[in-house]
């Protein structure tokens, strides 16, 4: 797979569903939903915006009353309008985020057709079954699924083998093999059997299948506030109370010398001071974070798991398939004295012509790449010597000679000789480096050796370096012996490794790291991974894995690519950073708003306070209105950022903080000065104020 280190989780790739950040239908639907969401019973969950709504109602009533009494009402109406827009923009942000999830849920729902199940009456007779609606299946029922059938619900294959198209869930249309026993026994409701048959024991009650959970997750229906979101909500509610006190007491304090400001003006001051920006965008950020994972084909069982991903200190990665390509590949030809490398290469190619294993293919590919040797077609009359576990040798007898390759000791013994010292040294070196040496012979003469290596995926070292800068230790888990493991670990650049790892070793390693106060993430697929997946703070299960693994993890990767654990961590971090950045921005905005509104409010009592009008705003009314308008517009302006997430750069925490403080802290102080001034100028040009 592509594993370029410059990956940014915001830029979804390899996705099967997704689309533009804001598409027409979603926006149109969101506009409608935004109005529906004005229901105070819904808004009360969001204290900042709820207060804004209450204040909007109050000012609206006052404006209407003023109009009815024939008093000046335009200013109050203007304030009321923009206060309402502030609320609407906030609900719109949430609606857009939800809309994007809903679009994905729709495509999932199409897969959840009302399947008819073939309920088996007896375990030993596949011919005896009753039709039964999928929704009426119970846990433990046995059903038959044959070619062309939709698998009615989640379950475990207990008999048979079949190829299954899981595109409904994973988006990947190439069929996968599902068979009883082993690590490929889990099937998902809504997927299609393409060939053969399987007997499935149902493991999920109706309505709680994997697909159901996926739909409710991406729709945000079962969305609960995450712990960090709750904490942030409390902070924002607290700040709202701060400013409620500050504004309410102004009535008394301003009465000391002069008239207290009007309710509309106080309302404007309050709403601009309370953190409406982050308050309006908070739930959108959370929904979008989950959404990013889904687009990335990873499903988290809860938002809590996504946050935990941001906190991970230790990543446990399986060597095979994650760090290395998984198959040993040819990486060199070593001749014995008197033979050229090219001779070895040619012999190796001819001996491998009939070898269909990945190792055999890699020899042909390597010879072509390195020496330009094109493999000829298998000639007529060639006799194939197949590999057997007994001989550990394979080859080809051609008219021009007999070519053999095989385990060094086995081949040399069959030739009846000794390994030359030079070759022995090369062979030992290869074994020490974690590779596998193969000997090559032609017509009974030893020519040299082929070096097969576990190839580390390109770019992994850079990824691990980036993780290290983020403060995350990477640990390679492998069944290899210590020597081999150490060599690959060094080449890949991981921080630690567990060699000859058993599932118990993994579990013990995770417990130890947790006892030291570290959070651990791991990926796994087998049943024996389940305890470790459950113990890990973030357990990424593979969709192709067993049901046990999928239940134990708190995330499932639909692409079954364990490397994605790294991106999952980055998405978790990005979610938290976005929240923090917009909170900082929102709070920092207050400074400029004071400079806009305070002189405007008090200029009647103390004309000298006009000196604080550093922006040179045209009039008290335009100053107040500009601040309110800026406050509303900034929410809409930041919706794309909230949905996309702040760009995450894998650098150390100190550098990251400096960078984000500069952009969102200082930027948050400066931006409104500029924004409010521009709006004021426009208001003057339009002749509104």
């Amino acid at each position: 797979m592509d594993s370029s280190p410059a990956f940014h989780p915001g830029e979804a790739r390899r996705t099967t569903r997704g689309g533009a950040l804001l598409s027409g239908p979603i926006v149109r639907r969101a506009m409608l939903d935004a109005v529906v969401k004005l229901d105070p019973r819904h808004l009360v969950r969001n204290p900042v915006i709820f207060v804004t709504e209450v204040v909007s109602i109050l000012v609206t009533v006052l404006a209407v009353r003023a109009a009815a009494l024939g008093e000046a009402w335009a200013f109050q109406a203007g304030i009321a309008l923009w206060l309402w827009l502030t609320v609407l923009f906030a609900t719109f942000a949430e609606a857009v985020a939800e809309g994007r999830g809903r679009a994905q849920a729709e495509s999932l729902r199409r897969a959840r057709t009302e399947a008819q199940a073939k309920l088996l009456l007896r375990t030993d007779d596949r011919a005896l079954w009753l039709p039964r609606a999928a929704t009426e299946l119970r846990v433990g029922d046995l059903v038959l699924a044959e070619a062309g059938d939709l698998i009615p619900s989640d379950g475990e294959v207990v008999e048979g083998i079949a190829s299954v198209n899981e595109a409904a869930v994973t988006g990947e249309s190439a069929p996968v093999i599902r068979e009883s026993g082993g690590d490929r026994s889990a099937v998902t409701g809504g997927t299609l059997v393409v060939s053969d048959w399987i007997v499935v024991r149902i493991t999920a009650a109706p309505g709680s299948t994997f697909l159901d959970r996926m739909i409710s997750l991406v729709e945000g229906a079962s969305r609960q506030k995450t712990p960090n979101e709750i904490a942030l909500d409390i902070l924002l509610a607290g700040m709202t109370i701060f400013f409620l006190i500050a504004v309410a007491t102004l009535v008394g304090l301003a009465s000391w010398n002069g008239q207290p400001p009007s309710v509309a003006v106080l309302a404007a001051l309050l709403v601009t001071l309370i953190p409406t920006t982050i308050g309006g965008l908070l739930s959108a950020i959370g929904i979008a974070g989950m959404d990013r994972l889904v687009r990335f084909n990873v499903l988290a069982t809860s938002g809590r798991a996504v946050e935990a991903a941001g906190d991970v200190d230790v990543l446990l990665l399986d060597k095979t398939g994650t760090i290395t390509l998984g198959n040993r590949q040819a990486a060199g030809f070593i001749p014995v004295p008197g033979v050229t490398e090219r001779d070895v290469a040619e012999a190796a190619v001819l001996s491998s012509l009939a070898d269909e294993t990945p190792e055999g293919r890699s020899i042909l590919a390597f010879a072509r790449e390195r020496y330009g040797i094109e493999a000829p077609a298998l000639p007529e009359g060639a006799r194939v010597i197949p590999f057997t576990a007994q001989t550990r040798i394979s080859g080809l007898d051609l008219p021009q000679g007999g070519y053999r390759k095989g385990a060094v000791d086995a081949l040399v013994r069959s030739l009846g000789g000794e390994v030359p010292a030079e070759l022995r040294a090369a062979v030992d070196r290869i074994a020490r480096a974690g590779g596998t040496p193969l000997a090559v012979a032609k017509d009974g003469r030893l020519l040299g050796a082929i070096e097969l290596k576990d190839i580390v995926k390109t770019g992994m070292r850079a990824r691990f370096d980036a993780l290290r800068r983020m403060g995350i230790r990477t640990v390679m888990v492998t069944g290899d012996n210590r020597l081999t493991a150490a060599a690959i670990a060094a080449e890949a650049g991981v921080d630690d490794f567990i060699a000859e790892a058993t599932p118990e070793d993994k579990l013990a390693y995770i417990r130890k790291a947790q006892a030291e106060g570290r959070l651990v993430a791991m990926a796994g697929d087998g049943t024996n991974d389940a305890p470790a997946l459950a113990q890990a703070d973030v357990g990424l299960a593979m969709q192709t894995g067993t049901q046990a693994a999928r239940e134990a993890g708190n995330m499932v990767d639909l692409d079954s690519d364990p490397t994605k654990l790294i991106e999952v961590v980055e998405i978790g971090k990005q979610l938290l950073i976005t929240r923090g950045a917009l909170t900082t921005f929102s709070i920092a905005n207050d400074v400029a708003k004071y400079f806009a509104i305070l002189p405007a409010i008090f200029v009647a009592s103390y004309p000298e306070l006009g000196a604080l009008n550093v922006m040179g705003l045209a009039s008290p009314e335009s100053a107040i209105l500009s601040a309110v308008i800026f406050n509303a517009l900034i929410i809409v302006a930041l919706v794309p950022l909230a949905l996309r997430g702040v760009r995450y750069v894998p650098v150390g925490a100190a550098a990251l903080l400096r960078r984000n403080l500069l952009i969102y802290g200082l930027g948050g102080v400066a931006a409104p000065f500029l924004g409010i001034k521009i709006i004021d100028v426009i208001l003057v040009l339009l002749g509104i104020a």
């Binding site: 906190d311 403060g471 950073i577 207050d590 306070l609 925490a653 100190a654």
Partner: protein, 565 residues
């Protein structure tokens, strides 16, 4: 501003830094029970109270013990103040305080505020001064330090319940830290000319033939603990501006050092307790940064003088000397004003009411920012840690991890309690001020019209709720309204913060201590120091801006135009 003025300021602040290092380490040793030179005396207290000093207390037991001891202290002091007229050691025959005043005074001294709605020389007997106020000066200071130690311990260890033993903390701090320092400082002050006498007041005949009453009393040692314990209640009415309470620039240097010494040292004690002294220095730097900035503003404002005076022909070179003692001058008055308000002390060596508007704004803001710069003994540290939690929470997210401080995750519970603690000051300061500004029974006590009058009102509640105790002046505070409302402000300003803080201590203590990595953002760097300062200004200060705009800011701008009220 003059070089000599800055040299004086630098000398005192330098002394504070120099003594903070050993004092911080020593206090940590006292807290750990490693200092034992008075062990027999210590054991006597434990035996009398039936206390096992080695037995740890959970947050509830610790907090209840503290509240109980403070309640007893309050009742005792209230009784003494009410009954002082019939009690001994009362050579001037001072009568008992009224119920309103005694309530206010007792609350004031138990809460380490030392707001004084009375005048010491005419309102208190020697017995009240010595057994009432001086005792509370020690106890309220030890209480604050004990609570700060309990909170510090919560950050030090992983997954514990035990926050230390309140009684042991109280006894050890009093015995090993406050008493020796107060004894030493008291002797130095006696040497510097502060009276320590039980004789009646002296009736002197002046050159013009009139009679003058010269008040005396056991002042020196009470003054020592009033400064060291950031209490601030003057033995005499005009506090450390009075020649007998603070006779010379040298006693001024000692007292000003004493105001700041322990609060600053406690920041380093925190570093020792969490076994990372850099954390202590970071808090220290934030505190010192604000003090230096505050002094610079006040000094500049006061040295600039009052434009109306200058227009009337006063030499601008002297600066604004109204309300200042000639023996201290502008620089030392500016430093003291910032130190006493920053440190929640409340003693004064000049009249804050007579400062220029900006010179008066800074002391008020130093209190409003939460009394954490460096704050009262103990209360400054725990208040600062509350701000640290909030700073870490907001900014910590920006490094992509759920926030943590010293390996302790900051979650919803801590944020809720921290916000509750921070909410107390604006609620009581702004709430009471707003009501008082429109209530005739309150406005009648205010001396000045216009923005300055509002400043006088605002300052009184700021001082009370912030447990500072200094008076701006210009306010007749001994009325049932002010005695009651300021009394309430002091009570809530103290215990309304302490209870959430102790609940924070419990929540933090219970959490596992996570290992740091390069993914956790460091909390000892200049970046963090700047961040923490910003959070204090924004979360602590923003809500006061409208009120300050109507008070000192308006006054400053109006004054420049030459207008008066």
């Amino acid at each position: 501003m003059t070089a000599i003025g800055w040299a004086q300021i630098a000398l005192i602040l330098g002394l504070v830094v120099a003594t903070a290092v050993p004092l911080g380490r020593y206090t940590a040793a006292v807290a750990a029970g490693h200092v034992t030179f008075l062990a027999p005396v210590e054991r006597l207290f434990y035996a009398a109270g039936g206390v096992d000093p080695a037995r740890g207390m959970g947050w509830k037991a610790y907090t209840l013990a503290m509240l109980a001891s403070n309640a007893v202290g309050f009742l005792l002091l209230y009784a003494i103040l009410r009954l002082q007229g019939v009690l001994p050691l009362n050579p001037e025959g001072v009568g008992g305080q009224s119920a309103w005043l005694a309530f206010n005074t007792a609350v004031s001294f138990v809460t380490n505020t030392n707001w004084q709605a009375y005048s010491g020389e005419s309102g208190l007997s020697y017995l009240s001064q010595m057994t009432g106020l001086t005792v509370q000066n020690f106890i309220s200071a030890s209480t604050g330090i004990a609570l700060a130690l309990a909170l510090s311990r919560a950050f030090a260890a992983g997954a514990v319940k035990d926050l230390g033993n309140y009684w042991a903390d109280l006894v050890r701090i009093t015995l090993y830290l406050l008493l020796p320092l107060a004894l030493l400082l008291g002797l130095l002050l006696v040497a510097g000319g502060v009276p320590q006498s039980l004789s009646p007041y002296i009736q002197a005949t002046t050159l013009e033939g009139g009679t003058q009453t010269i008040p005396l009393g056991p002042a020196a040692f009470q003054v020592a603990i009033k400064q060291l314990g950031t209490n601030g209640g003057g033995f005499f009415g005009v506090n450390s501006a009075y020649p007998f309470e603070n006779p010379t620039p040298w006693t001024n240097l000692l007292q000003c050092w004493a105001i700041l010494a322990i609060p600053f040292a406690l920041a380093l004690t925190f570093g020792h307790i969490v076994r990372d002294i850099r954390q202590g220095w970071a808090l220290f730097a934030v505190m010192m940064g604000f003090v230096v900035a505050g002094v610079a503003i006040v000094y500049a404002a006061e040295a600039g003088g009052n434009p109306l005076h200058i227009a009337a022909g006063v030499d601008p070179a002297t600066g604004n000397m109204e309300g200042k003692e000639v023996r201290f001058g502008v620089a030392l008055s500016a430093l003291w004003a910032v130190a006493t308000t920053g440190a929640s002390n409340g003693s004064v060596n000049a009249m804050h009411d007579s400062f220029t508007p900006l010179g008066g704004l800074v002391p008020m803001l130093m209190i409003q920012l939460g009394e954490v710069l460096p704050g009262g003994v103990g209360s400054g540290l725990y208040g600062m840690l509350v701000f640290v939690l909030l700073a870490v929470f907001v900014a910590g997210l920006m490094v992509g991890r759920t926030p943590e401080y010293l390996g302790k995750k900051v979650g919803a519970k801590e944020v809720k309690l921290a916000m509750l603690a921070v909410l107390i000051l604006p609620a009581f300061i702004l709430g009471f001020s707003a009501v008082a500004a429109v209530l005739p029974v309150a406005t009648a006590s205010v001396q000045d019209a216009g923005p300055h009058g509002l400043s006088e009102l605002l300052y009184a509640y700021t001082s009370g709720a912030g447990n500072n105790g200094s008076a701006f002046g210009g306010l007749t505070a001994d009325t049932p309204w002010f005695n009651t409302t300021i009394g309430l402000a002091m009570l809530f300003g103290r215990y309304g913060v302490i209870v959430p803080v102790m609940a924070i201590a419990r929540a933090i203590a219970a959490k596992p201590k996570l290992a740091a990595s390069s993914g956790t953002f460091p909390t000892h760097t200049p970046l963090f120091i700047g961040l923490l300062a910003g959070v204090i200004l924004i979360l602590g200060g923003l809500q006061f801006m409208p009120a300050l705009a109507l008070g000192p800011v308006a006054e400053h701008l109006v004054l420049a135009t030459g207008k008066t009220f």
